[in-house]
């Protein structure tokens, strides 16, 4: 992002001269208090919003000047996990994930192969027939992750994926995101869960009032070859969580 500014109609400034760069394969946290512009930033990345000023470059292309017709193509290359899940309430777990593939015109055999894979990844393989309102918050969020990841996008955005979840479930979600990151996908997680961020030891970008106030490249003190399981165990330990590790 190069000097991106977003001014909402009415004069409210969502982002102000934000410049940042995320490399391929990175795991980045975007933190800051409510209303600091985190969600605005995500929305400019999937072109739900157009920046008032500046450039948003994804894989070298400026998406702020992208034609409306090309926007669906862009969104298919970016998996997005929303704070409010944004699941299709009239479809069951399987169909919710399958929809992301149907949209890109995937063949039936491809769908039959990829959807169970994605659901296994997030630990929902035994709930394929359930509808979203029959799932817990954590399960809905994991479903949302599965849908975002099912066509293996190069970039995954997660807007407050642990927003309304208890710490134990949050770790589970983070574990899934971590696993996805290890497949080479760039992951950007928006959160205000400071504790979680500190424990994860990843790069943290802090926003306040639409400005970048901190960009701390971490990760040097975390061995990159840490397995998902070790990662979860460490996280649990450091957050002081008791009990069984959920079986994903």
């Amino acid at each position: 992002m190069r000097r991106v500014t977003k001014v909402y109609p009415g004069g409210h400034v969502g982002l102000e001269h934000v410049s940042l760069r995320v490399d391929r394969g990175e795991f980045v946290f975007l933190v800051g208090p409510t209303g600091c512009g985190k969600t605005t930033l995500i929305k400019t990345l999937i072109r739900e919003l157009r920046p008032t000023e500046g450039e948003v470059l994804i894989a070298g292309r400026d998406i702020s000047s992208l034609a409306d017709k090309k926007v669906p193509q862009l969104r298919r290359r970016i998996g997005t996990v929303f704070q409010d899940y944004k699941l299709l309430p009239t479809r069951n777990v399987y169909d919710n994930v399958a929809y992301a593939l149907q949209v890109i015109g995937a063949s039936r055999s491809e769908i039959r192969k990829k959807v169970p894979d994605a659901l296994r990844l997030v630990g929902l393989a035994d709930k394929v027939k359930n509808f979203p309102d029959q799932l817990s918050g954590g399960e809905q969020q994991r479903l949302s992750v599965a849908r975002a990841f099912v066509n293996h996008p190069p970039l995954l955005l997660a807007d407050e994926p642990t927003g309304n979840l208890d710490p134990n479930t949050s770790v589970g979600i983070m574990q899934v995101l971590y696993r996805i990151n290890r497949t080479g996908t760039t992951v950007v997680v928006v959160t205000h869960d400071r504790e979680m961020v500190d424990k994860m030891r990843r790069r943290v970008i802090a926003l306040d009032s639409g400005r970048v106030v901190r960009d701390q490249a971490a990760g040097t003190y975390t061995p990159d070859d840490e397995s998902t399981r070790e990662f979860a165990l460490r996280l649990r330990e450091e957050m002081g969580l008791e009990g069984e590790e959920p079986r994903y």
Partner: protein
């Protein structure tokens, strides 16, 4: 091809899921088609009736009696040939005194007043013989009339034959009738026009409601990267099915109404059995196509609001 089936499946799934709004749309379409299906034939019938009345209008040329008896046949024949030769005359028919009397008795019989003819003195028939002169078109009635009674030397209209005593003119009746029918036609036309507009708005509004109820779903589809047409097609299939079912039910009712009410009546009432109405099959087809088209387009257009990126 797989896509087409996908869209159809999706449309049907949506129909099942949102049964209440779909039902509302179907009922709306059904009522609209029902109204149209009744109004179109009625409009056509009044139209046809007007033309029929115009066809029946003509002049009646009454003849003088000669010595209390009908004029000799050769004179009558000569006059008929003369009348026939007048431009714009389509038909000339002779009604002799006896026929005139029997027509009168027939009419009186219908009114149960046979006593009037009964009082006539047996041998004497007071009714004159006459010619019915039909012009090729109602607007030529005046010119035919003036050809039968051209202005004489005194400038007064003088009949072309001394046999002619009087000319009766049904023009007043005709203009009254055609005035009335054209008024009816106008009123019906305006009513059906308004109905059509009202029903279109109603259908559009119903569809809008059902889409509005699912705007979140549409939003999610957009965010997952669905193209606008990918989102729109299932909705259009849904509209198409609503239109098809609604119109189908309405056409069923219309057919029933035709079989049970209109057809039996048509045997008794001349007005209904007018041959100018559209055949039922074509009417049904037109209504079906219009209903499906309007519903599908209504869905597609309404969706536009929710598809802005």
């Amino acid at each position: 091809m797989g896509r087409v089936f996908f869209f159809i499946r999706e449309g049907l799934r949506a129909l099942r899921r949102s049964a209440a709004p779909s039902l509302a749309a179907i009922v709306t379409v059904c009522i609209t088609v029902l109204l149209l299906g009744v109004l179109i034939p009625v409009l056509q019938t009044t139209n046809g009736k007007t033309n029929q009345v115009r066809d029946q209008v003509g002049l009646r040329v009454f003849l003088n009696d000669v010595n209390g008896q009908q004029a000799p046949q050769d004179q009558i024949g000569a006059l008929q040939a003369k009348l026939q030769a007048i431009p714009h005359v389509k038909q000339v028919t002779f009604v002799d005194k006896n026929q005139a009397l029997s027509i009168l008795s027939e009419r009186l019989k219908q009114d149960n007043r046979t006593d009037i003819t009964a009082q006539l003195p047996g041998a004497h028939n007071p009714l004159p013989a006459s010619f019915n002169v039909t012009p090729d078109d109602l607007s030529n009635l005046g010119s035919v009339r003036s050809a039968i009674t051209p202005p004489g030397t005194s400038g007064q209209p003088t009949p072309i034959s001394p046999l002619i005593s009087d000319i009766g003119d049904s023009r007043d009746d005709a203009s009254k009738i055609s005035g009335a029918t054209s008024a009816i036609r106008w009123v019906l036309g305006v009513i059906s026009g308004l109905l059509l507009v009202a029903s279109l708005l109603l259908v559009a509004n119903t569809i809008r409601l059902s889409i509005y109820a699912r705007r979140r779903e549409v939003e999610v589809m957009r965010l997952v990267g669905a193209t606008n047409w990918f989102i729109r097609w299932p909705f259009m299939v849904e509209g198409l099915v609503c239109g098809l079912v609604g119109a189908g039910i309405a056409i069923g009712f219309l057919f029933l109404g035709k079989q049970v009410i209109v057809d039996p009546l048509a045997n008794n009432f001349n007005l209904i059995s007018s041959g100018h109405t559209i055949p039922f099959a074509s009417l049904a087809l037109v209504l079906l196509c219009v209903a499906m088209g309007v519903s599908a387009m209504g869905s597609g257009l309404t969706l536009r609001r929710f598809l802005k990126i």
